[in-house]
Symmetry: D2
Subunit: 255 residues, 4 copies
């Protein structure tokens, strides 16, 4: 429409290259999960002096980014985050961008990444961000509700296993004054009961009293907000008190 | 390895969900192009008061982001940008992340997005960024060198067509004091010679003297840098004077 | 392992070409349907003098081929056929050939095609087969049981619509002595009640008394066979009296 | 269009299931190779008493089937066969069925399979075919001409390696009166020079005088046929004297 003679002709001559795009439609009637992971966040955490084993600021920043993703992209049912990863669940009936996997992935991951830098200073007011972080993303499809529940359970169990390990490890290093190598050796092969026992008997820490934010991760869901003097109902992203049991998580997805 | 008894058993019970990931390996021996596009950048440009038709700050910020992408991800041969889009070319022999399309896309687009916020204030020192912008990304495969050249020619011709139109449109509005609607009407159906003529005869503007940055877009390539007193050669991203003719662009890709 | 010096070296030099195979794993936990369709069967039917509108021999041959497919490939739950098409349902938990779509498709379609020629003379003892027929095949995935039921209902409704039309059309031609063009014109725009009425009032044919084989298509399921004096139970393909209501069809798939 | 009221409504209600078909378009500007392999042909060969190590009848039957595939499907440049496999090359510019992989695969493999039974008695006049054989098929894409040449070289080298082994093995068994186990033991670890030497010094067989059909496989190409008194030129499938050197093979593909 904005034709300009020769250039337009040239453009249409080259336009055949459009037909080389990869087709990547997600199968219908499947839950679409996009998981975002920090790239080299071990290094990033060190360089930005994240507190070990859990840095509240970093976790709340992740939650803030996820909230922005849900508000900007608006067809996401719920999301679940822990450590440097976040999973976003699109409804199985979503027809957003004709269900193209590349659209799901890149919109989520770019919004998450730009939010991370944008909101950084709200959570790290005294620690400047040193360089722009990277993330990777992937799409996974789940045909049944049970598959989706199991996915969320998988991520939450991963959270639990890693957090219990990290909690004991860093307690041994920070309070027990072991070297990291000694702490690792001490923990090798221990099961969870033994780890709980180390925390309790040697450091008087009851692991179950640790914050749910650390032990269970975070769930973001939509809640209806009633504003009596305004224009009625609207929905808002709310963080679900970090009680991200899979049950709770998926009961919200069915809504 | 960080097993903790019951939790580990639970985790392995749920781990079957990993097998649902979409396979998306890019065909070997094809050039892999990732194109990043701003999401709703029309609105973003308005809210951040971008100068029309071209805002040097915004274009240079795009170039800065692309440079960061190339430096962080390091297997990209070259990149080409114009307006709010940027294309990154991975070598056809690249085996980065086993050529998974999702890895190519999400690493590029997230690095680009976080860079955009990170470098914003270098280019817009007096205009704060109001919200985190989004981008979308896609992967396109080109089997032959000619296909790749034609892709770059397609994007550059697109740059030319849009820029010529926008230049005349905004000149009519800003200097000719036409309303946008009148300017659009004036330009409807005109070919490029007529647009050039309007600029020249009515506003004494020779379109060919407009900056190459606007007319042709930007190319980033790798150049060898020789440092006599240091540790010898190394490579560095350089912006190729905006002479992004497709010839030049693809001669660099063969390097 | 059967190395022979130079040739082996040459072979391994060329073997890189294996990595170009298309990945086509079917998403887990989805029903896999392979549908086979005759290629140019309109022409094939004419040249082999199939009786219009339904040729029992041709339909029974299709059923015989489907039975062979089920017996040879053995992970197929059930199959449904009508006219020159047949659909085969693999269980959603099937892991046959790691769920590669190309394996599902090509094994089914080649077995069907070779069976068609092999069993031809059993059904057409006096009419030789003139040339080898072709078929095409496709894979469709269904995440939920309801989707699968709807697929089977779709194919069966297609059978009904086409068979009612064809029955009236050929009755008008064969008994009503209309030309095909006149018969087509007569039927244009008629709904099913009107077609039933033509059959009944003009030709004393009650459509509901037409054979179920024609009106509903065929379902093949597995049945357990008990052989008292032999080695106990075994399963056998059985044709389900052509009462291929979707209900019946899918109740068998859940087994 | 052949609507019949309620049934039509039902059909359109179920028709949504069409949207679940797998997308499988082959990347443009790539050679498309479909390879067909016999399923369980070891068993099939035994039960049909194929002569070892090469049965001329079986090889010529394979060639006849490939010829039928090329004549029926008509956009195939060339094909190459050896043992119980055959590869069909579609031109990189082919747009047959919009380049859907499933169409390429299933049309080729079903035509091949039905031809195998159809032409069987021409090549095995005294040995009836006992059951319908199965084949599998796959699609492989090659972006460059060199990749395609290497593919053909790979298959031909495979032919050479297997045929040399089989020739010596069966000579040891048939003329040398070794048991199969002894023959296998004798050949373990031998390189090609040693195999040639066994044939020559112990059995006076010069391997290079073995038929090219066995040593090199078969190539089918299109040739122009000039018929002076008829309607001019037409093309015909011709078997290329089994000199399927990759050079020759791919020079024909460029035609």
């Amino acid at each position: 429409r904005r034709g300009s003679g020769y250039a337009t002709m040239a453009k249409s001559k080259f336009e055949y290259v459009r037909d080389f795009e990869v087709q990547d439609t997600c199968l219908k009637n499947c839950w679409v999960v996009v998981r975002v992971d920090g790239r080299n966040f071990h290094r990033f955490a060190e360089q930005h002096k994240f507190i070990k084993p859990n840095d509240d600021r970093a976790l709340q920043l992740m939650n803030r980014c996820a909230q922005n993703v849900m508000e900007e992209l608006d067809t996401i049912c719920m999301s679940y985050g822990q450590s440097d990863e976040y999973s976003f669940v699109f409804h199985k009936n979503s027809n957003w961008y004709k269900r193209r996997a590349s659209k799901f992935m890149t919109h989520v991951v770019s919004q998450f990444a730009s939010s991370y830098v944008f909101y950084w200073k709200e959570f790290f007011p005294t620690q400047p961000i040193l360089y722009p972080p990277g993330f990777d993303g992937r799409v996974v499809l789940y045909p049944s509700d049970q598959n989706l529940k199991d996915y969320l359970s998988w991520r939450q169990t991963d959270c639990h296993i890693n957090n219990l390990y990290n909690t004991v490890f860093w307690t041994l290093v920070q309070k027990g004054e072991l070297t990291p190598a000694k702490a690792e050796e001490r923990l090798r092969g221990t099961v969870s009961a033994e780890k709980n026992e180390i925390l309790f008997s040697e450091f008087s820490i009851n692991y179950n009293n640790e914050p749910e934010l650390y032990r269970k991760g975070s769930v973001l869901i939509w809640v209806k907000v009633i504003r009596p003097h305004r224009s009625g109902k609207r929905t808002q992203v709310r963080q679900e008190r970090n009680t991200a049991s899979a049950e709770c998580a998926t009961s919200t997805t069915s809504a």
